[in-house]
C-alpha cells in the first residue's frame, strides 16, 4: 500500500507563449504511514505536486499509482481517490459555507454517499480529533477565531476518513499558539489514526520538529529527499536555492568551526541542547 509517482511531468498552458514547466519528471514513492514534509520556495512546484496526488491536476506525462492502481486509467474513479487522499488547501477556512460548524464538517462524508447518521458520526469524530470544544459545534463557523476556523476546515477533510492527509501550509497567518495547536493535532492524528501525512511548509523549524522524511522541491524537481538530518546537512545547497536550515543547525556548524566537537547535524532545539551539554560536560 503506497503511492508511486513515475516521471510525473506537468506543464501549464503547453504549446503557448505562457508555457511553464511546473514539474519535471518527478519520481517518488510515498510509503503508508509516513510523516513527510515538503519544502521549497514559492514557485518551486510543491503546490502543483500535491494537487497531483489526489487527481485535481493531471500530469502532462508520467504515471501515478495508488495502492497498485493507475489513477489515470479510464476506469479509475478519481472521486474515490479524493476520498482516500484528503487535501487541505492553504487558508482552508475560506471554503467554509454552511450555517453551522457541524453541518459544514458533514459536507465531505455526505458527498461520499454516507447516510445522514454515518456522516454525522464521522463529523463528530473529526471535530473531536481537531480538539474543537463541543459547545461551539452548532454555531456559525464565521464567528470563530482564525485558528479555530482553520481547525474546522481541517475537520471537514478529516471527516472523509482519508488514508493520506496533505496539508498545504496549514499554519500560514496563525500566531504561535494557533500554529502549535494545529501541528500538535496533526502529529497526534498521524500517530493515532495511522494516517500518512504530507505537510507543506515554509518553516524549517516546524518540519524539523515533526516530520520523519523531508522532500525539497526546486524548479519542479525533487532536489533532496531524506530524513531532516540528512537534508539539512546540505544547508549550503539549500541556501543557494533560497531556502535555509533551522537556526540551530547553523549554530552547530559555527561552534564546530570554533573547534567544539558538537553534533553538526542537530536540527531541533532538543538535539542541539543535548549535544552542547554533552560537549561541555565532557570538557
Amino acid at each position: 500500500m503506497s503511492m508511486i509517482l513515475d516521471k510525473v511531468d506537468y506543464k501549464y498552458s503547453p504549446g503557448t507563449a505562457y508555457e511553464k514547466h511546473a514539474l519535471r519528471e518527478v519520481s517518488l514513492k510515498i510509503e503508508d504511514g509516513q510523516f513527510i514534509g515538503v519544502i521549497g520556495h514559492t514557485g518551486s512546484g510543491k503546490s502543483t505536486l500535491i494537487q497531483h496526488l489526489n487527481g485535481l491536476m493531471k500530469a502532462t506525462s508520467g504515471a501515478i499509482y495508488y495502492n497498485g492502481e493507475d489513477i489515470y486509467d479510464k476506469d479509475y474513479d478519481l472521486r474515490k481517490l479524493r476520498q482516500k487522499v484528503g487535501l487541505v488547501f492553504q487558508y482552508p477556512e475560506h471554503q467554509l459555507f454552511e450555517t453551522t460548524i457541524f453541518k459544514d464538517v458533514c459536507f465531505g462524508p455526505k458527498n461520499k454517499g454516507l447516510s445522514q447518521k454515518d456522516a454525522e458520526l464521522k463529523a463528530f469524530e473529526a471535530l473531536r480529533a481537531v480538539g474543537l470544544p463541543e459547545n461551539l459545534w452548532y454555531q456559525s463557523p464565521f464567528e470563530l477565531s482564525g485558528g479555530q476556523k482553520r481547525r474546522v476546515a481541517i475537520a471537514g477533510v478529516l471527516a472523509m476518513k482519508p488514508e493520506m492527509l496533505i496539508l498545504d501550509e496549514p499554519t500560514a497567518g496563525l500566531d504561535p499558539k494557533g500554529r502549535d495547536e494545529i501541528l500538535d493535532q496533526v502529529a497526534k492524528m498521524h500517530r493515532e489514526w495511522k494516517m500518512t501525512v504530507i505537510l507543506v511548509s515554509h518553516s524549517m523549524e516546524d518540519v524539523a520538529n515533526y516530520v520523519e522524511r523531508l522532500i525539497v522541491m526546486n524548479r519542479g524537481k525533487v532536489m533532496l529527499d531524506g530524513t531532516p538530518r540528512e537534508v539539512f546537512a546540505h544547508y549550503k545547497e539549500l541556501e543557494e536555492v533560497g531556502l535555509s536550515a533551522p537556526q540551530v543547525t547553523y549554530l552547530m556548524h559555527e561552534l564546530r568551526r570554533k573547534g567544539l566537537s558538537v553534533d553538526v547535524n542537530a536540527t531541533t532545539l532538543e538535539e542541539a541542547k543535548d549535544s552542547i551539554l554533552k560537549t561541555f560536560g565532557a570538557k
Binding site: 535555509s244 561552534l255 570554533k258
Partner: protein, 281 residues
C-alpha cells in the same frame, strides 16, 4: 516631544441587537500607555486578539478611542479637523497585500495617495519615482500588481504610503501572509526607510524574529501593555513571554535552556553570533 502619545487609551467594541440594546461589550484596549519618539522603530507584539491591531487602527484614526487620549504628531485624534493631517502623517500598511492595492498598474497605485491629498501632477510623478526607488521596486513601475510576488506587493503598498511623505509608517502584520523570502524583503525595506529616511516605524507583529531589529518593544495581552523594553530586555524574560503565548526565537530559547541547565550563558541572547561568542569564551 513624542510622535505618538497614548494615555489610558480604552477601546470597546459594543455589539447591539436589532433593537439597539447592548448585547455584549468587548474591551479590546484596556488603559494602554504607549509612547513613540520621532525616528524610533517600535514593535508591538502580541498574539491574535491581544488588541495590537485595534491599537494600530487608532493611529490612523480608522478607529477612535472610547476613553483616554491619543496624540499623533501633537494632534488630538478626537478632533475632527485633524483627521486628514494625521492620516497623511501616519501612513498605514495592512496584512493582506492584495486587498490594499487599488490600481491595476504599480505606479498608478503609488500615485493614489498623493492624488487624494491634492498634490500637483509634476510633484506626484517625482514622489512616485522616489518612493518606488526607496523600496527597490522602480523597475516594476509599469507592471500589473497581479503578477508580483507577495513581498513585492507589500513593498508597493509601502511605496504607496511613502509617496504621501508621512513622518511615520504603521505596519499591521505586514508579513503574516508572506513566505520567508517575502518577509525578509519587506523587513529590509522597512529598516532602510527607518535608518536612511528617518521615518518613524511602528511594526505590529507576532513574529518574534522580526522585532530583534526594533529599538523598543511593547508586548500586549488582553488589551493591556504587559511588557516594555529593548528587544534584549524583553527576550531575557523567556518564561514571561511564553505565558503570553508568544514564541521566542529558537536561538534565544536554546540559550535560555542552556542557562537553566547550569551553563554560564548571559540572559537575553538575540543572535547566533552572540551565542557562539558566549559559548566559546
Amino acid at each position: 516631544m513624542n510622535f505618538i502619545e497614548a494615555r489610558k487609551l480604552v477601546h470597546e467594541y459594543i455589539r447591539r441587537d436589532e433593537e439597539g440594546n447592548v448585547e455584549s461589550i468587548q474591551t479590546a484596549l484596556d488603559h494602554v500607555d504607549i509612547d513613540v519618539k520621532p525616528g524610533e522603530f517600535v514593535a508591538v507584539l502580541g498574539h491574535n486578539g491581544s488588541g495590537k491591531s485595534t491599537f494600530a487602527k487608532h493611529l490612523n484614526v480608522l478607529l477612535v478611542p472610547t476613553e483616554g487620549t491619543l496624540w499623533v504628531d501633537g494632534k488630538d485624534v478626537t478632533e475632527e479637523e485633524n483627521l486628514w493631517d494625521i492620516r497623511k502623517n501616519a501612513g498605514m500598511v495592512f496584512q493582506n497585500p492584495d486587498n490594499q492595492i487599488i490600481a491595476s498598474v504599480v505606479e498608478e497605485d503609488v500615485g493614489f495617495g498623493p492624488e487624494n491629498i491634492g498634490i500637483p501632477t509634476e510633484e506626484i510623478l517625482k514622489r512616485v519615482d522616489k518612493s518606488l526607488k526607496s523600496v527597490g521596486m522602480l523597475e516594476y513601475r509599469e507592471h500589473s500588481p497581479n503578477k508580483l510576488s507577495g513581498g513585492q506587493k507589500q513593498r508597493v503598498a509601502i511605496a504607496g504610503v511613502m509617496a504621501m511623505e508621512p513622518k511615520c509608517i504603521v505596519l499591521d502584520e505586514p508579513t503574516a501572509m508572506l513566505d520567508p523570502n517575502g518577509r525578509k524583503e519587506v523587513l529590509d525595506a522597512v529598516e532602510r526607510l527607518n535608518q536612511e529616511k528617518g521615518v518613524t516605524i511602528i511594526l505590529i507583529t507576532h513574529y518574534m524574529e522580526e522585532v530583534v531589529r526594533a529599538d523598543r518593544v511593547y508586548v500586549m495581552d488582553q488589551g493591556k501593555v504587559v511588557m516594555e523594553g529593548t528587544p534584549r530586555e524583553v527576550f531575557s524574560q523567556v518564561d514571561t513571554l511564553k505565558k503570553y503565548r508568544l514564541d521566542v526565537p529558537q536561538i534565544t530559547l536554546l540559550a535560555h535552556e542552556l542557562r537553566q541547565a547550569g551553563m554560564a550563558v548571559p540572559k537575553g541572547i538575540l543572535t547566533r553570533q552572540e551565542l557562539v561568542e558566549a559559548l566559546c569564551q
